[in-house]
C-alpha cells in the first residue's frame, strides 16, 4: 500500500453515526485506509456493513439524521473533512466522482441524457453548450456506447441497464477526476456485462491515472480488479492488505468465511460453508469484536475491543485470534 504523501486519498479514523429515536447507529466506525494514484481499492462487505455510507461520507453526501462525527479525510494532501457544502461542491464531480448502484434511478428519468451530461460539465467549467455537448459525446464514445450522437438525445429508460451504467461512468469521467468512488456499480447487471464494464473501468483508470474505490459485496470482482482490498464488517474494517495477501492468506475469520462461501470448481461436491448467524442489528452491536457472535474462534478475550491496526504493516487485521493458514 502506498504510503507516499502524494496518496490521492487518505482516510483516518472516519466515523459516521446516524442519530435516530431508537438509538445511535454507528454505520461507519473508525475506518482508515489510503488509495494512491492510479490504484484500485476494493471495499468489501455484506449489505449493512457501512461501505456505502463510507462512500457518501467521503463526498459529504450523508444526509441527516446521519453525520460524520470523527476522523480526517485528506484528498491530494489537502484536509477536506470540515469543508463547507459550497467547497465540497467544487470537488464533487470534478475531482472526486461517484458512480451509484442502480443506474435507472440515478439518471433522472424525465430529463434527456445530453441535458444530464451537459449540466455536469457546465457545473464546473464555463464552456458554451456546444462544446459541453461535444465533450459529452466524446465521453460516451470513450465508454463504448455506439452512435453517441443519437444516444445523447435519448431518455434513460431507452437504454439497457448496462448502457445506463456506462453513461453514469462517462459522466463520472467527464472531468478526469483524480478519484472515482464506485458503489456496487455492476451488482444490478448480468455477469457478461459486468465483466465488460470491469475491464473497461480498469483500462480507463490505468489510462488516466484515476484512483478507484470499488465498493462491492462480491469477492470475485475484487479478485479480478483491485490492487488492494479492505474488508468491512458492522461498520469497521476488519482486514486490509493487497489482494494477493488477503485472498490467499486471510487473517480474519470473517474474510476466511467470505472466501470460503464462494462456490469454486476445485471443491466440487462439498457442502458450501457459510458463515453461521446473521449480520448483527447495528443498533445492538455487542461490545468488543462485532463478529464474535458468529465466529468459531471467539472466546472471552474477544469481548474487549479488538487490536488497532499496526501502522506500518502491509497486511492488517483486527482480531485476537487471526488465522495463519488457509482454511482447509
Amino acid at each position: 500500500m502506498t504510503r507516499a504523501a502524494s496518496a490521492t486519498l487518505e482516510v483516518r479514523g472516519l466515523s459516521t453515526h446516524f442519530f435516530s429515536r431508537a438509538g445511535v447507529v454507528r454505520a461507519v466506525d473508525d475506518v482508515s485506509f489510503a488509495v494512491g494514484r492510479g490504484e484500485i481499492m476494493g471495499l468489501v462487505g455484506e449489505s449493512g456493513s457501512g461501505k456505502t455510507v463510507t462512500g457518501f461520507s467521503l463526498l459529504g453526501l450523508v444526509d441527516p439524521p446521519g453525520r460524520v462525527v470523527a476522523g480526517q479525510i485528506r484528498f491530494e494532501g489537502r484536509d477536506i473533512t470540515g469543508l463547507s457544502d459550497a467547497e465540497m461542491r467544487r470537488l464533487r464531480g470534478r475531482h472526486i466522482a461517484m458512480v451509484f448502484q442502480d443506474p435507472m434511478m440515478t439518471l433522472n428519468p424525465v430529463l434527456r441524457i445530453d441535458t444530464q451530461m451537459i449540466e455536469a460539465v457546465q457545473a464546473h467549467e464555463r464552456v458554451p453548450r456546444a462544446e459541453a455537448r461535444a465533450r459529452a459525446r466524446d465521453a460516451l464514445g470513450l465508454v463504448g456506447i455506439p452512435s453517441p450522437e443519437e444516444r445523447l438525445r435519448a431518455y434513460p429508460h431507452q437504454f439497457s441497464g448496462g448502457m445506463r451504467q456506462r453513461v453514469a461512468i462517462a459522466i463520472a469521467l467527464l472531468h478526469r477526476p483524480a478519484l472515482v468512488i464506485a458503489d456496487e456499480p455492476t451488482t444490478a447487471l448480468d455477469v457478461t456485462i459486468q465483466a465488460q464494464i470491469l475491464a473497461e473501468m480498469q483500462a480507463l483508470c490505468a489510462r488516466f491515472g484515476t484512483a478507484l474505490i470499488w465498493i462491492t459485496h462480491d469477492l470475485a470482482v475484487v479478485a479480478g480488479l483491485a490492487d488492494h482490498v479492505a474488508v468491512m464488517y458492522a461498520g469497521r474494517i476488519v482486514e486490509k492488505g493487497t489482494v494477493e495477501d488477503v485472498l490467499d492468506q486471510p487473517m480474519h475469520p470473517y474474510t476466511a468465511g467470505l472466501i470460503g462461501s464462494v462456490p469454486s470448481r476445485t471443491r466440487r461436491g462439498e457442502r458450501l460453508p457459510g458463515i453461521p448467524g446473521m449480520t448483527p442489528n447495528v443498533l445492538n452491536l455487542p461490545p468488543g469484536c462485532a463478529f464474535r457472535t458468529r465466529c468459531k474462534r471467539a472466546d472471552a478475550t474477544c469481548a474487549a475491543d479488538p487490536p488497532e491496526f499496526a501502522e506500518d504493516a502491509a497486511h492488517l487485521h483486527r482480531c485476537f485470534h487471526p488465522l495463519v493458514a488457509i482454511p482447509a
Binding site: 461542491r89 464533487r92 424525465v110 449540466e119
Partner: protein
C-alpha cells in the same frame, strides 16, 4: 400514438353520447317534458300546437333522434326567460366564466407551487407547518362561505375591493374581456381568490409530497454528486418530476373549477354561465339547463382529452409505451 388518440376520441364520443341519453331521459322520462320544454305561460291551444311542433306525441326513440339532430345543428331550444336560442344565451356568458376559471387556476399555481416547494424543503419550519395546516382548511371550507367572508372583510369592512359584478371590459375578437382593465381586475380579484382556494390547497399538498418523495431519491443524490448547485438540483431535477402530477391534477381540476364557478358567480354576481344555470334552475328555464349540461359535458370531455395528451408530452416514459 395515432391509435391511442383514436381510441381516446372514440371513448370521448361514447361519453358524450351517454350523456345525451341521460339528459334526454331526465327531461323526457323523469321530468314532464311538457312542463320542461313549453313555457308555463302558454295556454291550452298553444300547448297543443307546441306539443305537435316539438314532436312530443311521437314515440320516444324518435324524439331522441330529433333531439340528437337538433344538437348537431346547435339547436338546443329556446330560453323561456330570454326568448333567444338557449345555446346563444350560454355562449354569450361563457367568456366571463372561462376568464374567471383561468384566473383562478393561474393564481392557484402561482401561489400553491412555491408554497408547496417551500413546505417540502423545510418541512419542520413554522411557516411550512402553518401552510400545511392552512391547506386542510383550504379544502375543508365550503367555498361559498369563504366567498361570503371575503366579501365581508374586503368589501364591507375594509372597503378595498368591490363586492359584486364584473368590471369594465374590453372587446377583443367580438367578446368582452375584463382582465385588461384595472377596474376589471379589481372586480376579478375576490372571486378568483375564492375559486382558487381549493386548488391552492391541492397544489400545495401535491408539490410538498412530490418534493419529499424526490429529495431522498437516487437521482437527486447523483445530481448532488455531480457537483450541481442546489438551485439547479431543485429547480430542474426535482421540479420537472413534481410538475407532472401537479399539471395533470390542475388540468383535471380545471373542470371542477369551472363547475364550482356556479357558487362563486352566484355570490359575487359574476355574469357567467354558473350564475346563469342557477338562475335558470330557479326560474325553471329548462332549455337553458339542457343546453348548459350538454355544453359542460362536451367541455369536460375535451379537457380530459387534452390533459391526457399533455401528460404524454410531459412524461417521456409514457410516450414510448404508447408508441410500442
Amino acid at each position: 400514438m395515432a391509435t391511442w388518440l383514436l381510441r381516446r376520441l372514440i371513448q370521448a364520443v361514447f361519453v358524450v353520447l351517454a350523456m345525451t341519453v341521460i339528459v334526454f331521459l331526465g327531461v323526457n322520462v323523469i321530468g314532464n317534458p311538457v312542463d320542461i320544454l313549453i313555457s308555463p305561460e302558454a295556454d291550452a291551444a298553444e300547448r297543443v300546437r307546441a306539443i305537435a311542433a316539438l314532436g312530443l306525441d311521437k314515440p320516444l326513440w324518435q324524439q331522441y333522434l330529433v333531439f340528437i339532430a337538433g344538437l348537431l345543428h346547435g339547436d338546443l331550444g329556446r330560453s323561456f326567460v330570454y326568448n333567444e336560442p338557449a345555446l346563444r344565451v350560454i355562449l354569450q356568458r361563457l367568456p366571463a366564466t372561462m376568464e374567471l376559471a383561468f384566473a383562478a387556476v393561474l393564481l392557484a399555481i402561482v401561489l400553491g407551487l412555491p408554497a408547496g416547494l417551500y413546505a417540502g424543503l423545510r418541512p419542520h419550519a413554522f411557516l411550512a407547518r402553518t401552510l400545511m395546516a392552512g391547506s386542510i382548511l383550504g379544502f375543508s371550507l365550503p367555498s361559498f362561505w369563504v366567498g361570503l367572508m371575503l366579501i365581508m372583510v374586503f368589501a364591507v369592512q375594509l372597503g378595498w375591493l368591490p363586492s359584486t359584478g364584473r368590471g369594465a371590459t374590453v372587446t377583443i375578437l367580438g367578446t368582452q374581456w375584463s382582465f385588461l382593465t384595472v377596474d376589471g381586475l379589481r372586480h376579478m380579484i375576490l372571486p378568483a381568490c375564492n375559486l382558487a382556494l381549493f386548488n391552492v390547497s391541492l397544489i400545495m399538498r401535491l408539490a410538498r409530497a412530490g418534493v419529499r418523495e424526490a429529495l431522498p431519491s437516487d437521482y437527486v443524490r447523483f445530481a448532488r454528486a455531480k457537483g450541481l448547485r442546489p438551485v439547479r438540483v431543485i429547480g430542474v431535477h426535482v421540479m420537472k418530476n413534481i410538475l407532472i402530477p401537479v399539471v395533470t391534477v390542475v388540468g383535471l381540476e380545471l373542470g371542477t373549477t369551472i363547475a364550482f364557478s356556479v357558487v362563486t358567480e352566484t355570490i359575487f354576481a359574476w355574469p357567467g354561465v354558473g350564475k346563469l344555470i342557477i338562475d335558470s334552475i330557479n326560474l325553471l328555464d329548462r332549455p337553458v339547463i339542457v343546453a348548459y349540461l350538454m355544453l359542460i359535458v362536451l367541455l369536460f370531455v375535451v379537457i380530459n382529452l387534452l390533459v391526457d395528451l399533455l401528460y404524454t408530452v410531459l412524461d417521456p416514459r409514457v410516450r414510448l409505451e404508447q408508441a410500442a
